[in-house]
Symmetry: C2
Subunit: 193 residues, 2 copies
Amino acid sequence: MAFRSLSARISHVLATPQTGHFRTSIVPALDVDLRGIPGDRHYGFTRPAGARERWYAAGMEMRSGRQLSVVSVEELKQIATRLEIERVEPGWIGANVVVAGVPQLTLLPWGARLVCGDGAVLVNEGDNAPCRFAGAEIARHFPDRPGLDRLFPKAAIDLRGIVASVERAGTIAPGPLTVKLPQQKPWPGGTLL
Amino acid sequence: MAFRSLSARISHVLATPQTGHFRTSIVPALDVDLRGIPGDRHYGFTRPAGARERWYAAGMEMRSGRQLSVVSVEELKQIATRLEIERVEPGWIGANVVVAGVPQLTLLPWGARLVCGDGAVLVNEGDNAPCRFAGAEIARHFPDRPGLDRLFPKAAIDLRGIVASVERAGTIAPGPLTVKLPQQKPWPGGTLL
């Protein structure tokens, strides 16, 4: 596996207050282990299957690739522009890590590594599908914009960031970020489908 | 996350005898849980970092994406042709699942799901880097071909199959296989590096 590297930075990190809700708030740093963020609702190697996995029985224990949610400053701005609102705060949609300087974070190849300073290393487990619950949280901040919740999933396509799991335990804090990209080899079998 | 599907089949499944060696032998079926194959040397959500991860301290506990090794009948034939030998048996190189009918298995996009009949579901965690230890096992069967071990890593590039982790527990046995492919969106940031 050959990797190339890209230098970027971590702008903020956020954690879930102990409320059970998915909203997150800015904290100075996250100390993660291989199960994710201790105390977080997404902590664990496994999770129950939910609405995103309609092909599995609801509640079935499955491998989790959703330990953390990562978004980018630039993409949140694009979502806000599309929705014609002033801003989308990362905490409203439950983000844990906000990065800056990663071009098109959401399209980053699966398996890309996010090396957080000399601390934790995250693995990109794919783009985070925008959902209406996150849309409802955004809408709550713009009460004069009825229907905003339903606009979010479409406006956020390819901009909502990625989900990640922890490959190396450690600290995640604002500062330098190195993105390690696996070689992108297009799979030619795709033309057969 | 949109997926497309491809129908293929599982030709054989193999497990490690209780020897500690990486060689595998054909078994009727594998019953896997979310940690992999119970009793196998690669069983677990985590593993110690090794020679493949020179950027981590040797032995550091890290996330494991190597629960199972998957190879294809077609690619093993191509490796044998390149090495000018009669065959490469999947057990020699420690494979657990042998598939047939998946075009260029090794280049399959990361995150592709392998749905094994109505049993286990595996997640593609990327191509398996060919190593000289596997080469040495092949060479052992062709004593009249000195140096074959060192030819293997190059001959097997893009043909050595993938590593996978278990997303849904269940059985893996010879029979139908459905490959679910995540949308392939080229990451345009690659041109910036």
